[in-house]
């Protein structure tokens, strides 16, 4: 197996492919956080008073809170005063009216990343709301969407154009004092996406946002809000990749989903932010709060994530199943290599009757990667006949990595039923030998086995995303296995 490990390591050691920095002048607020900074952010965006009040409330709550310490991750204490809380590409001031007006270097960056902003997006039928640092610079397909009444814009624009809608839903799933990072986000969120699908509308295309962290030392505090009215459907894709940086960058996003009666939201993520170098220097700290609420009967929320990037991932996309017969799903592949750490999982809170949830979590740890699945399944007293099925499997590659499983099950209703299964295994020597004996190279064998291991999750991703995700796994793992 010696040779194998070496090959694997050489693959793992491939430099981050997306490590380049776009040189664009940024308008950046000096580092530090106080009420004035919160006011400044709100003022820059011409927000209504209630929004500022809400932000200040969040900030005051945040001051009283302490960072969570229960996660299975290690990092130096974060100096929140050394982070700049606002940056916008300068060209924004002129306000690009079309793609032609967008800084060509920005477009070039996207090009390098292979993001389908132009022809590709047409081919893929993807509407792109590209977020460069903190401000939205281009939104496409808006017209086509508005024909059916779908609103898809940046949250700043939504605050201008649909303030009442935003006011009604923001913070209704993740309150401003939900947790340390959510409170921070609520105080300083810069921008993000807003999606509103009216009653009975099936969104005609996959909605997609590519996030990108660029300016040095700029924390990213995205806020996404998706509301699916009665009987509507939307599939939302979020993909990330970041340029190489030496200093850690904090990312504390909040995503809120609301599904009304018979509505369905499918939220897919491929996360490939800079994970740090092979010695564990640099990389993104990804502390995200994602939660969806199935408010109406028979509503459905499905989270699918492929997490290969970031130095530290702290993320638990959750579903609160309030409506009777509502459905929550969580499909996850997380890969940690080199010195990456991930503590991720989900919460399924069953409130309504006949609610069902499914959790399929696949963790791959390679090199010195550390990974924990942490999940909660709770059946409240009223969750008659609720069902949960959980499966979390870990695949270990190398002998310095770790894989941990911490599921919490809380059942308060006797008619509810939860089944949890977990397993940990390594890529077996006998499996590799069997493949090699059939003439298949070790690398091919490994990628076959890994893709087989993740198959149940990959099939939940929209096609174009699945391809990208498989590629990512390949880049992150090829040669990492032995």
């Amino acid at each position: 197996m010696g040779a194998t490990s070496e090959q694997v390591e050489s693959l793992v050691r491939r430099e981050y492919q997306h490590g380049f920095v776009t040189d664009i002048e940024n308008e950046t607020v000096p580092p530090g956080l106080n009420e004035d900074v919160v006011r400044l952010i709100s003022a820059k965006k011409n927000e209504p008073q209630w929004m500022l009040d809400w932000r200040l409330e969040a900030y005051r709550n945040w001051l009283k809170m302490t960072p969570p310490s229960w996660a299975q991750v290690k990092h130096p204490e974060i100096d929140f005063q050394s982070i700049s809380y606002y940056s916008a590409p300068k060209s924004k001031d002129d306000g690009p009216k079309s793609l032609d007006e967008v800084d060509p270097r920005l477009l070039e960056t996207y090009e390098k990343l292979g993001i389908p902003l132009e022809e590709q997006k047409m081919l893929a039928g993807v509407a792109v709301d590209a977020v460069f640092d903190s401000v939205s610079v281009a939104t496409t397909f808006r017209e086509k969407l508005s024909e059916v009444g779908v609103i898809f814009c940046s949250i700043s624009e939504a605050l201008k154009d649909y303030p009442e809608l935003v006011r009604q839903y923001i913070g209704s799933v993740v309150p401003e004092n939900d947790n340390y990072f959510a409170a921070l986000n609520s105080a300083v969120f810069s921008d993000g996406s807003f999606v509103y699908i009216p009653k009975g509308v099936r969104c005609p295309m996959e909605l997609s946002t590519y996030f990108r962290i660029n300016a040095q030392n700029t924390g990213q505090f995205e806020r996404t809000l998706i509301v699916a009215e009665e009987g509507s459907y939307v599939s939302y894709l979020e993909g990330c990749t970041a340029p190489k940086r030496d200093e850690n960058q904090l990312h504390a996003a909040v995503v809120e989903l609301v599904a009304m009666t018979d509505a369905e939201i499918k939220y897919s993520t491929v996360q490939n932010w800079y994970p740090g170098d092979e010695d564990g220097r640099g990389g993104i700290y990804n502390f995200v709060t994602k939660r969806g609420e199935c408010r109406g009967d028979r509503s459905k929320i499905a989270w699918t994530q492929v997490e290969t990037g970031s130095a530290i991932t702290w993320k638990y996309p959750s579903c609160v199943l309030k409506g009777d017969y509502s459905v929550g799903e969580f499909y996850s592949v997380a890969l940690t290599s080199n010195h990456q750490q991930a503590d991720t999982g989900t919460k399924m809170i069953h409130v309504g009757r006949n609610t069902t949830s499914t959790i399929i979590a696949k963790g791959i740890s390679a090199m010195q990667g550390e990974q924990a699945y942490r999940g909660l399944v709770r059946f409240g007293k009223g969750a008659e006949n609720a069902r949960n099925y959980t499966q979390c499997d870990s695949l270990l590659v190398g002998d310095r990595c770790g894989a941990h499983t911490f599921p919490y099950i809380e059942a308060m209703n006797p008619t509810a039923k939860v089944e949890h299964e977990a397993s940990t295994s390594k890529i077996g020597e006998d499996q590799l030998f069997y493949c090699k004996q059939r003439g298949i190279s070790e690398e091919d064998a490994v990628s076959m086995i890994v893709n087989g291991f993740c198959k149940e999750v990959m099939k939940e991703l929209p096609m174009e995303f699945a391809v990208e995700a498989q590629k990512l796994l390949g880049i992150s793992l090829e040669g990492a296995v032995g």
Partner: protein
């Protein structure tokens, strides 16, 4: 006065009278215990290990040491014996050894009151006593270390296969009042030895006492021990216990832990597989109803390669009861080729009951095979229907299936007399008990 102050004062007042006082090594243990307890006090739900189990009710009481002598007759003990089982027996009343009620046969296996050993031959136990139970992890273990009063010392010499099981019977009496019995057992199985030890905790009447037990088991190379722990305390009592097991190479340890009694029962089981080839089997059954609260916390530490562990726990929770299971398997970096399986299944019988299950895997080695599973639910509809279609009424069918659910755990016990005893208790605790008893 705070609870901590109460126990500090009690220690100051009683320490001189505790067995073995004056032995420097033992004094060191007791002093470390009370210091640790003073430092941390009783655990709160903020402590992850006690997230689902509040001990405020224990903290509120001011338990003292048990009175010196409480008369109990051999006849009163009969319901707690295993008929047909030839065994040696050490009886403890309110935490103190009762020689008149005990019966110990001649043989190579040494068994006696720990208090007597501490007084007369403390050097015998110095090597092992309080070496395995972690005071830092568990405040109750620290409290026990400070106050340990009596219990059993069982020693299986090298290459000796014990012919008879040893039964350690801990009886609490209602007239003992609100006392705390800090019992401590030490079981040492030397290399190549084998034996069976049964600990049972029972009550005469329904006293509101506290049992705070700590048992340490040390297994030498290639030794084998089957350990039974039957908890049938009074339904007003508190039962807190820690079983700490240390395993040398190729040793085989099997634990059967059964919990029927106590208002609040909390059992920690920690096994360290500290050498190659060790095998650890943990079986558990907990049945709770009314306002009972039962909590099992198990940890299997795979520290060395080629270890095997199997863990099967089942719970039946009804009424307004709450059942908690936390099973942790920790595979250290050195522990390659570890083979570990864990399963926890719970029957939740009532709308007012609650089950909290937390199976945990923490793995730092790569060449391992580990799995765990947990379920919470009710009886299978298909099975119920099948029984009913054969003419068994619904309640009896529920009772039978509940009985069968639990039976599965009891079946792993090698001593038929203990199985019979437990089945007798079990059949009274399932739905439609009378019909079920009639059918069986």
């Amino acid at each position: 006065m705070s609870a901590v102050d109460h126990y500090l004062n009690a220690f100051e007042a009683e320490a001189a009278g505790l067995p073995g006082r004056g032995q420097p090594w033992l004094d060191g243990i007791r002093d470390a215990g009370i210091e640790r307890f003073a430092e941390v006090g009783f655990p709160t739900p903020r402590n992850e290990q006690w997230k689902y189990t509040r001990v405020a009710a224990i903290e509120k009481r001011r338990f003292g040491l048990p009175a010196a002598a409480t008369p109990v007759t051999a006849r009163q003990l009969e319901p707690f014996l295993f008929s047909g089982l030839a065994c040696d027996r050490l009886v403890f009343v309110n935490g103190r050894y009762a020689s008149a009620l005990s019966s110990i046969s001649e043989g190579e296996v040494r068994m006696e009151s720990l208090a007597a050993v501490l007084k007369n031959e403390p050097a015998l136990v110095e090597q092992h006593l309080a070496h395995y139970g972690d005071m830092k992890r568990n405040a109750f273990t620290a409290l026990n270390a400070a106050f340990m009063l009596d219990g059993a010392y069982v020693h299986l010499p090298r290459n000796v296969a014990a012919e008879r099981p040893v039964h350690l019977l801990f009886v609490s009496t209602e007239d003992g009042g609100e006392f705390a019995a800090h019992t401590r057992n030490l079981i040492v199985a030397e290399e190549g030895s084998s034996g069976k030890v049964i600990e049972s905790y029972v009550a005469l009447g329904d006293g509101g006492y506290l049992t705070n037990n700590a048992t340490e088991v040390v297994l030498g190379a290639n030794s084998e021990l089957e350990h039974y722990k039957l908890q049938e305390e009074s339904l007003k009592a508190f039962h807190i216990a820690a079983l700490d097991v240390h395993q040398d190479r190729d040793s085989r340890f099997t634990s059967h832990a059964v919990s029927f009694g106590a208002l609040l029962g909390r059992q920690d089981i920690n096994a360290v597989l500290d050498a190659e080839g060790a095998v650890c089997n943990l079986y558990g059954l907990y049945v709770a109803d009314g306002r009972q609260h039962v909590d099992f916390h198990t940890t299997v530490e795979h520290a060395k390669p080629h270890g095997t562990s199997r863990e099967f726990y089942k719970g039946i929770i009804g009424g307004r009861a709450r059942g908690v299971f936390n099973g942790r398997v920790h595979v250290h970096q050195d522990a390659q080729k570890t083979d570990s399986q864990q399963s926890n299944k719970n029957l939740l019988l009532s709308h007012h009951a609650e089950v909290d299950a937390k199976p945990e895997l923490e793995i730092y080695a790569d060449d391992v095979k580990c799995s765990h599973g947990a379920t919470v639910g009710q009886l299978d509809d298909n099975m119920l229907f099948y029984l009913r279609s054969r003419g068994i009424d619904k309640e009896a069918a529920r009772g039978l299936l509940t009985y069968g659910f639990a039976q599965d755990i009891i079946d792993h016990m090698s001593l038929a007399a203990v199985r019979d005893h437990l089945e007798g208790i079990l059949v009274r605790r399932v739905p439609a008990a009378e019909s079920v008893a009639g059918i069986l």
